[in-house]
């Protein structure tokens, strides 16, 4: 080994030892330093300007109600369209002929009472949700009126009468709901 190599080797050795010493000192370094004053009061004052945003609950219920009702109404409407295209409707026989007026009076009595109850029960819901529910009720009502006019024109069509009964059941089912209990709209 030449003299130059010996010097280099010795220098490397010293550097290595120094690095180890530095690493040892670093490990001994205290990771914490206590502040000279309590910072909390000032932090608390700073925090007071900001309020953590509350996590918005997912308001999925109105949308699912609206979606399911829309699907039901669409199915009913498409059935009506299909029936209009049919050349030979299924007819009700003899004494079973449907009396729309009689049925309508009975139905509207029940329906209107339930609607009043529905509005009363759910009046504490947020305005947007109430609007959404009212919109769904309106969709069903429009569909019912449409089918009623079809039944009036074809009082012996059993399929139209069946559709009307189905939409009555759906409307009643919706109006019986008490969404205020679920707490999901709040």
């Amino acid at each position: 080994m030449s003299g130059q190599d010996k010097i280099q080797d010795k220098k490397g050795h010293v550097d290595g030892a120094l690095s180890l010493a530095l690493a040892r000192e670093l490990r001994q370094l205290n990771p914490e330093m206590e502040p000279s004053r309590d910072l909390w009061p000032a932090i608390e004052r700073g925090m007071a300007q900001y309020v953590q945003p509350t996590k918005k609950r997912l308001n999925w219920m109105p949308y699912s109600v609206a979606a399911s009702l829309l699907i039901a109404v669409s199915a009913l409407v498409s059935n009506v369209v299909l029936m209009k295209q049919q050349t030979a409707p299924v007819l009700v026989q003899g004494t079973d002929i449907f009396s729309l007026d009689e049925n309508q009076v009975e139905y509207l009595k029940v329906r209107n009472t339930l609607k009043d109850q529905f509005m009363e029960t759910n009046r504490m819901l947020p305005l947007a949700t109430l609007d959404d529910l009212n919109h769904n009720i309106q969709i069903l009502e429009d569909a019912r009126i449409e089918i009623e006019s079809q039944v009036r024109a074809n009082p012996q069509d059993a399929r139209l009468i069946e559709l009307l009964m189905r939409i009555h059941a759906q409307e009643i089912e919706l109006l019986k709901q008490d969404y205020s209990k679920s707490g999901q709209f709040m």
Binding site: D15, L18, S19, A21, L22, E25, L26, Q28, L29, N30, P31, E32, M33, E34, P35, S36, R37, L39, W40, A42, I43, E44, G46, M47, Y50, V51, Q52, P53, T54, K55
Partner: protein, 180 residues
């Protein structure tokens, strides 16, 4: 109770405190502050040298963390997230004072030593404080906070090579202190 279960218990407690703080619970956030203030102050002191300024920066970091708390998803430990905020707060302060150089002129063959008057062996803490700003920031972030050169380069707005060179420079200066 094993050490692992103690650590897990502490993490669970901290997570519970974070959850409570997210619901505007000041008491929970104060407990988080008490848990981490020492490390946050140490980080700020080492980055900016001045104790009073460091405490102001630590204070600012805790307020900023409160403001951003809703965005903390818990992917990392709360402490790591908080130290990152404190690091950014301190670096932003330093940047306002004097932008970090994108390239550094260091002649590795040149003899560089600690500034005059500190040739004697001193406390490592003091020696770190005596390092030039760029070298100190890289050394603290790399050797004490565990950042990578890539992360440091992004944080300081310098090239990765500069970060490595600054670290080399800092170690060389600190070895000088040990050798004194």
């Amino acid at each position: 109770m094993s050490e692992a279960s103690v650590v897990l218990g502490a993490k669970a407690r901290e997570r519970a405190l974070v959850d409570r703080a997210k619901k505007n619970d000041y008491n929970a956030y104060e407990q988080l502050y008490r848990l981490h203030v020492g490390c946050v102050v140490a980080l700020c002191v080492r980055l900016c040298k001045d104790r009073d300024i460091a405490e102001d920066l630590a204070q600012e970091a805790f307020i900023l963390a409160w403001v951003k708390l809703h965005s903390f998803r818990g992917d990392s430990a709360f402490g790591s997230w908080l130290y990152r905020i404190a690091t950014n707060t301190a670096l932003s302060y330093l940047r306002k004072q004097k932008p970090f150089q994108n390239s550094i002129d260091i002649d590795d063959t040149a003899e560089e030593s600690l500034p005059d008057g500190i040739a004697e062996k001193m406390d490592l803490e003091e020696a770190i404080a005596q390092l030039p700003d760029g070298a100190r920031a890289v050394f603290v972030l790399y050797s004490l906070q565990g950042y990578t050169h890539d992360e440091i380069a992004k944080l300081l707005g310098i090239a990765q090579g500069s970060s490595k060179a600054q670290l080399h420079r800092a170690r060389k200066l600190l070895r000088g202190y040990i050798n004194a």
